[in-house]
Symmetry: C2
Subunit: 514 residues, 2 copies
């Protein structure tokens, strides 16, 4: 029986389950309004709409929180938990388990802490923007200190398992079930392998010629090209949109309504395509979740940020930076943008796969990207532990950049002030980016076995079978399985950095002709 | 003391008033979310977002209704009403009077009737679209009958004054204080004058040459032209947007956030400019209301649909169709669109002022437009009175079209099925369009006295002094004055169709060279 059929039967058979499903759907309606209003703020809102928008969003978050923590909601979950008929079905039990998780997470934080965090995030953003603009870490330090303090308090509210540490409770928000220790175990060998790989690249005699993707093109033409690429990848424009924003993002507003954004520079056409594929990967996941039929239940939601990121990195890197993708994409780009792009598949493919240590995480390549993440993981964990004073962050950051990437940071704005996350009170978020890459590598290997002629398909612009595979293996399940559990089901092994390292080593060797 | 100062002092001096102001602002926050979500539905929402959007809007309307009818809200108003200090100030008293009006209106309707009307509107729209597509009135008849029945029930809930009729209570929703009898008194002489004017036009030896505005232009160029025209008229794009929609509209979402829409056809550039000016007129009114400082109070809201329409018709017709406007607009159009538009001011001006009886209200000219409205007023009033059976509507419509405009209606889709209003349960709405024209004509006369060189200004693209005049005379007051009261303050006379008739006669004579 499918997830949907199982759910429908449970709704019919159990009044408790039907009541919970109704309450979950009602909560989804309110939450989806909040998402839409937040999306509008980043894409459509005129400059002078800011003041009342903050009040609208504050009101909506309050409404969502109030409903999500309503004791009656908890009672509905308890009623389901006490029905053995329900709990005996693995699908239904998973949904109820996740509903319980969300409810407990939401109710464990006292309201005053929630409000303090909200206020601190809002002020932290302002302080961070100012500090970054002025390249002055001292202007951000008080906000950072508060972020660390509030995150410690938050972690204490959530509680720590035996043998665990506070950071675990934070990581668990974004990557349920993950711990700092396990992350360290996974990241250790990955880091070694990556550093070795960078050595290999540095020793390579020839470097890709970046000028082959350096042309200037009309923004409207770039938009049309990106839209066509996303359409080919399976993004359904009848169930979504692609707009402009300063920082690209994807918001699964509601059933049938997934909105992603992109940004363009006249000389950044290749970058825009990869951003479109990245957000498009998030978006196809959102569109593949059974949000209509299972609205508001955990079975209609994404598992974790890591799994979400696996979908975006899959389309951006594994597919989008493959040579077979560009067999199809290059002629299309030359038609839609202009034939000043050289008709040289090999050169284009090498250019979009260059490996080059740099200061900025979001501009970094597939190999160095994860080193940026590990640095952040270690430093934020040390701050939560109290092993690193916030005031010592720039020094620690710069030392690590020197060690890992061989770069000397002269300005904090391209160092520890570059990311928004800490200003938004998000600690424990960064590692999910690397988990995304790790999951993607394991899925990529499994996909290769199931679809042995995927390269031929990509070269013809046929991405349907690949998307169908992800629909089947990942999207349809919602939160039925945990992230690492799903990873193991798909790839036959728990998280293992060998997959990613093998994939990267193979690519680096081919790109750099070794 | 200004309205704002008066308000701020009252907030300081009276706890009751401060409490009411806070509750009004909170209601405004919720209402503004509802408006934003509704705007998104018409402009941005992907096709498959429909189902959950209906639920979002239903939820938000329920929330707004719940708060607007909360007995505690009524108590706050009562508390203010019992403070003689507050009620002694004409500005504050006006705000409280209007808050009372809204609260009483909202609470007079029982919840089941509100829901029945909402459901009937929603089903009525579907039936109307189907009937119009199939050109089959019988498919709309049951919905129309229900609209009439529900509107009678609604009017009974609101109650009727001595000597009044049910229709008054409906008209009063959209045009507070107006009655059917007074409307009849005003429309009578206007109708006679217009019929006479049409006779004059038909006898005219020469007709404007419409081909001078018949060129095809790129839609993006048209958008840019319309945006520049609206900017010149004073629309502030930092506090608003202009987007696309099937049916153009303007939504004052919130303080600092007024959104209008337009539509474009390759061969419809002139039409698009007038639509932009029309919606721009609504939009500058919204932007001129003191929404930031007096958020949620009646002093920050538009007086009536008629006064709102006066602002749109002012910019669309009185200003936008003046020769001096085109002295500035024609060179701009030729630069921004193309010089296939002939450099013949007189010919362009005549073409945009052609008078020609037609079947469709929204396509009709300044002269015949009001005859379309009067027809609707008489027929909907007769249906509410029970003097006209809904099944007899097509016959009555067609007879009246023949009499007033000399046209034989062969298809109901260009006859009584053309407008959406009755399907949406809106009866009493149509007359406000003509009140808009009447108010505009009286304001136009007053503006002419205060700004004797407005034509020279328009010819240079200077609309600032005109907008400032409307800010001063209309916008800043919110709902402090009633519509006819304000009209009299501005023009020195109550509603008097002579103003509109003189303006139209003068223009027709000049356009048709008589």
């Amino acid at each position: 029986m499918s997830v949907l059929e199982t759910h429908q039967m449970a709704v019919k058979d159990s009044a408790a389950y039907a009541n919970l499903a109704r309450a979950q759907h009602e909560l989804e309606v309110v939450t989806s309004i909040n998402r839409l209003v937040a999306w509008d703020q980043e894409t459509m809102m005129p400059a002078n709409g800011t003041a009342i928008r903050a009040e609208q969003l504050q009101y909506l978050s309050g409404l969502v929180h109030e409903r999500a923590t309503d004791p009656k909601f908890g009672d509905l979950i308890s009623a389901c938990e006490s029905e053995t008929g329900l709990m005996g079905d693995p699908i239904i039990a998973a949904g109820i388990r996740e509903a319980r998780r969300d409810f407990d997470k939401a109710t464990k934080l006292p309201r005053d802490l929630v409000e303090e965090i909200a206020k601190s995030s809002s002020l932290g953003m302002v302080a961070w923007k100012d500090a970054r603009a002025k390249n002055d870490f001292s202007k951000f330090l008080p906000a950072l200190q508060q972020t660390v303090d509030l995150n410690r308090r938050k972690a204490e509210c959530y509680g720590v398992a035996d043998g665990g540490e506070l950071y675990d409770a934070l990581l668990d928000i974004y990557e349920p079930g993950m711990t700092a220790k396990r992350t360290e175990e996974i990241f250790g060998p990955l880091r070694e392998g990556l550093v070795e790989l960078i050595g290999l690249v540095e020793a390579a005699p020839e470097k890709p010629d970046l000028s082959v993707i350096g042309q200037n093109f009309d923004i409207d033409a770039q938009k049309a090209f990106c839209a066509d690429v996303c359409k080919a990848a399976g993004f359904d424009f009848d169930s979504g949109r692609m707009d402009l924003s300063t920082h690209p993002f994807c918001e699964g507003v509601a059933s049938g309504d997934t909105r992603m954004t992109n940004r363009y520079r006249p000389d950044g056409w290749a970058e825009s395509v990869f951003t479109a594929l990245h957000e498009g990967g998030h978006a196809t996941y959102e569109q593949g979740l059974p949000k209509k039929e299972l609205s508001g239940t955990a079975l209609a939601e994404a598992i974790s940020l890591g799994v979400h990121e696996s979908q975006s990195r899959m389309w951006e890197n594994f597919i989008g930076r493959s040579k077979s993708f560009w067999q199809w994409g290059l002629p299309l780009a030359r038609t839609m943008l202009g034939d000043s792009i050289p008709n040289d598949l090999d050169a284009i493919w090498k250019a979009v796969n260059v490996v080059e240590p740099g200061f900025i995480r979001v501009e970094s390549d597939e190999v160095t990207y994860n080193l940026h993440i590990m640095l952040r993981f270690d430093l934020e964990r040390a701050m939560i532990r109290g092993d690193l004073a916030c005031s010592d962050l720039p020094g620690a950051w710069n030392e690590r950049m020197k060690n890992d990437l061989g770069l000397t940071v002269h300005e904090d704005r391209v160092g520890c002030l570059q990311d928004v996350h800490w200003s938004m009170s998000a600690i424990g978020y960064f590692p999910t980016y690397t988990f995304g890459n790790l999951f993607a590598a394991q899925m990529w290997a499994a996909l290769g076995k199931d679809l042995p002629d995927r390269d031929e398909q990509f070269s013809r612009g046929e991405f349907g079978p690949t998307l169908a595979w992800f629909r089947d293996k990942v999207h349809q399940h919602g939160r039925r399985y945990g992230a690492e559990e799903l990873c193991e089901m798909i790839s036959g092994s728990k998280i293992d950095s060998d997959f990613l390292l093998r994939y990267l080593t193979d690519k680096v060797k081919r790109v750099y002709g070794m």
